[in-house]
C-alpha cells in the first residue's frame, strides 16, 4: 500500500476548555472518496480546518499528500483544493474574475489561466452567469463555482466541507455528479464532510462517523449497517414509549429496542417475519400504534447504536 493521501494520528484540537477534536486517527488512501459523517458540532469542520492548514493541531499530527500540515503547510496548500462550509466567495467579483484570481495565486500564468477557466466553466455549467457578479448567483451556482475554485490548480486531494448543505435536490444531485466524476475520471482523493446520511451513503467508499470529536466507527456504508443487524421496524406510538419497549422484550426475532420520542425503533433479525409478532405485542400492551414501518438500517441507525443519539435530533423531534 502506498503513501496515504491523508493520515492523522492522535489529532486533537481544543479551544480554551472546549475539546473540538479529541484524538483522531485517520487513513485515507489515494483515489478514495472518504465520507466524514456527524451531527452539527461533532468536530467535522475543525478537523477539516486542521487538515487544510487553517488551524494548527493542539496535539497529534497529520500528513496530507505526504506533507505535515503543521510543519510544511505551504507544501500542503499547493496540493489540496478546499471548498469550505457555506460557499466562501466574493459577491463583488464575477465568476471569471474569481477563478482568474484563484489561478494566479496558484502560480498559473497567461494562456494557462484562460484555458483553465474555460475548462472549469464547462465543468460547472452555469452558462452566462460566469460574467455576472457572484452576489446574483443562486445557492447551487455558488456551490458549483466554489467547487471550480477549489479545482483550479488541479489538486491531488479535495476537501469538501458539507458541500450540499442548504441546496435544493436538483442542485444537490449536480454537485454529487461532479464529485463522483472527479473521483472516477481523475482519480482525485476526496475528503467529504456531511451531516446527510444519503450523501455519505451515495458518494463515499468509506465512511467515518464522528461524535463529540471522536471517531466512533469507520468502514464501508454496508459494513457499518451490518453492525446494527438486518432490518428495523419503526413504531409510531401514541402514549408511553417505554411501556411499548417493555412489551417487546422477548418477542421472537427482536434484538434490541430504542425509544426515541414518539417512536420506538425495533431492531429485528428478519423484518418480514417479525412484523406480525411485534404488532401483536404492541396491541396487547395498551399503547396506541399510529403506524408501523419496516425498513433496512441506515447510517443514522449506526449512529444511534454507537452514540445513543440521532444525527438530526430536530428531525426526530
Amino acid at each position: 500500500m502506498g503513501t496515504p493521501a491523508i493520515e492523522a494520528e492522535g489529532l486533537r484540537r481544543t479551544f480554551e476548555e472546549t475539546v473540538a477534536v479529541a484524538g483522531l486517527d485517520l487513513r485515507v488512501e489515494g483515489g478514495e472518496i472518504y465520507g466524514f459523517l456527524g451531527p452539527n458540532g461533532a468536530g467535522k469542520s475543525t478537523c477539516v480546518r486542521m487538515l487544510c492548514t487553517l488551524l494548527v493541531p493542539s496535539a497529534g499530527h497529520a500528513r496530507v499528500a505526504g506533507y505535515d500540515v503543521a510543519r510544511q503547510p505551504e507544501a500542503v496548500r499547493l496540493r489540496i483544493g478546499v471548498a469550505l462550509q457555506e460557499a466562501a466567495l466574493d459577491d463583488r467579483q464575477n465568476g471569471i474574475e474569481l477563478l482568474r484570481l484563484q489561478a494566479r495565486l496558484y502560480g498559473l500564468r497567461g494562456k494557462a489561466v484562460e484555458q483553465r477557466i474555460a475548462d472549469l466553466t464547462d465543468l460547472i455549467d452555469i452558462g452566462d452567469a460566469m460574467n455576472r457578479r457572484i452576489g446574483t448567483y443562486s445557492g447551487g451556482m455558488k456551490r458549483r463555482l466554489d467547487l471550480a475554485a477549489a479545482l483550479v490548480h488541479n489538486p491531488d486531494v479535495l476537501f469538501l466541507d458539507e458541500p450540499t448543505t442548504g441546496l435544493d435536490p436538483v442542485s444537490r444531485a449536480k454537485v454529487w455528479g461532479e464529485i463522483t466524476a472527479l473521483n472516477r475520471e481523475l482519480g482525485m482523493t476526496i475528503f467529504l464532510t456531511t451531516q446527510y446520511l444519503e450523501e455519505a451513503d451515495a458518494l463515499a467508499r468509506r465512511v467515518g462517523i464522528i461524535d463529540l470529536g471522536r471517531l466512533v466507527a469507520e468502514g464501508t456504508p454496508a459494513e457499518l449497517k451490518r453492525k446494527v443487524g438486518t432490518d428495523v421496524i419503526v413504531a409510531d406510538v401514541d402514549g408511553d414509549a417505554s411501556t411499548a419497549c417493555e412489551a417487546l422484550v422477548g418477542v421472537s426475532g427482536v434484538t434490541s429496542v430504542d425509544p426515541i420520542g414518539d417512536e420506538v425503533l425495533i431492531h429485528v433479525v428478519e423484518g418480514s417475519s417479525s412484523v406480525g409478532p411485534v404488532a401483536i405485542a404492541l396491541d396487547g400492551c395498551g399503547v396506541t400504534v399510529r403506524g408501523l414501518t419496516l425498513r433496512t438500517p441506515t447510517l443514522d441507525d449506526v449512529f444511534l447504536e454507537l452514540t445513543g443519539g440521532h444525527l438530526h435530533e430536530e428531525e426526530v423531534e
Binding site: 487544510c52 492548514t53 487553517l54 488551524l55 494548527v56 503547510p73 505551504e74 496548500r77 499547493l78 496540493r79 489540496i80 478546499v82 469550505l84 462550509q85 457555506e86 466562501a88 466567495l89 466574493d90 459577491d91 463583488r92 467579483q93 474574475e97 484570481l101 484563484q102 494566479r104 495565486l105 496558484y106 502560480g107 498559473l108 494557462a112 484555458q115 483553465r116 475548462d119 472549469l120 464547462d122 465543468l123 455549467d125 457578479r133 475554485a149 479545482l151 490548480h153 488541479n154 489538486p155 455528479g177 461532479e178 466524476a181 472527479l182 475520471e185 481523475l186
Partner: protein, 270 residues
C-alpha cells in the same frame, strides 16, 4: 458531464506553484481596485465630506479672515481639504466582509504570501486616496489658490496626502483583522476627529491657546499640515516639508505595527 471532465483532463499538466510576493500583492491589489467602483456607497461619502467642508469653511471663514493682512484663508485651508479627503479611507470594511464570508479563509488555503493579503489592499488604498484628492485640488484651483511651489509642489502635496492616507489605514486594518467586526471598523472613524480637529485645521498654531495648543503640539497632523501649507503658501521650505513627512513616518510606525501584528494574529492558525 463526461465531456467536461475530459476537458479538465486536457489540461492536467497544470501544476500549482507559489506565484511570488510581487505577483500575489498585485493580484490582491487588482481585485481591490476593481471592487472600488462596485461599492459606490463606500466611496461617495469620502468624496462628499471633504468637498462639503471645503465649501462651507471657505464660504463662512474667508470673509472673516480678509481683515488679516497677507492671510489667504483659501490657501491656508486647502491642505485641510486634502487631509479630510484621505484620512480614514481604506478597504478595511471589505476585509471584514471577506473574514465574515469565509473568503479570507479561501485565500489563506492558497499558497499566497500572508503579507500580500494586507499590502495588496494598501496598494489599492493609495490609488483610491490619490483619486480622492483630485476633486479637492480642482476646487482649490477654481477658488483661486495658487501653489508657490508650482506643478511639482502639487505632485508632492498629492504624494504627501496619499502617504498620510496610507499611514492612517493601519488603524482600521488593525481593528478589522483583530476583531473581524464591521461595527468596530466603522467606529475607527472616531480616531479621525482628534487627529483632524485638535490641530491647526482652522487657525494658525500661534493663535491656539491653553490645552488645545498643547494637544496640537503633540498631534502629528499639525506638522503634516505645516508641511503641506509650506508647499502651497511659502515655497520649498525644506525643514517644514520634511517635518510633514516625519509626522507621516511616525504615525506609520505605530499604525503599521498594529496592523501587521493583527495580520500575524489572524493568520497564526491558532
Amino acid at each position: 458531464m463526461s465531456g467536461t471532465i475530459a476537458a479538465v483532463h486536457a489540461t492536467q499538466d497544470v501544476h500549482a506553484r507559489p506565484a511570488g510576493f510581487a505577483a500575489d500583492t498585485a493580484s490582491i491589489a487588482l481585485r481591490a481596485v476593481r471592487a472600488i467602483p462596485r461599492e459606490p456607497e463606500a466611496v461617495i461619502p469620502a468624496l462628499i465630506v471633504p468637498i462639503f467642508f471645503f465649501i462651507v469653511n471657505i464660504g463662512s471663514l474667508s470673509n472673516v479672515t480678509e481683515q488679516i493682512p497677507g492671510f489667504d484663508f483659501k490657501a491656508f485651508y486647502l491642505p485641510v481639504g486634502f487631509v479630510f479627503a484621505v484620512t480614514g479611507v481604506s478597504r478595511a470594511s471589505s476585509l471584514v466582509t471577506d473574514i465574515q464570508t469565509g473568503y479570507f479563509d479561501r485565500l489563506l488555503v492558497t499558497p499566497i504570501r500572508r503579507l500580500s493579503l494586507l499590502l495588496g489592499l494598501m496598494v489599492a488604498d493609495i490609488v483610491l486616496v490619490v483619486a480622492l484628492t483630485l476633486p479637492v485640488l480642482v476646487l482649490g484651483i477654481a477658488v483661486g489658490v495658487r501653489f508657490e511651489t508650482g506643478p511639482l509642489g502639487v505632485l508632492v502635496l498629492i504624494a504627501m496626502s496619499g502617504l498620510w492616507g496610507l499611514a492612517f489605514t493601519g488603524f482600521p486594518y488593525a481593528i478589522a483583522l483583530k476583531t473581524g467586526n464591521p461595527a468596530a471598523v466603522n467606529s475607527s472613524f472616531i480616531l479621525f476627529f482628534p487627529f483632524a480637529f485638535l490641530t491647526t485645521a482652522f487657525v494658525p498654531k500661534e493663535a491656539l491657546q491653553g490645552w488645545l495648543a498643547t494637544v496640537a503640539t503633540f498631534n502629528p497632523v499639525t506638522y503634516l499640515l505645516a508641511g503641506m501649507r509650506a508647499l502651497v503658501i511659502d515655497g520649498w521650505a525644506w525643514r517644514t516639508i520634511a517635518g510633514g513627512f516625519l509626522a507621516i513616518v511616525g504615525v506609520s510606525l505605530v499604525s503599521m505595527t498594529l496592523a501587521f501584528l493583527a495580520l500575524r494574529g489572524r493568520v497564526a492558525r491558532g
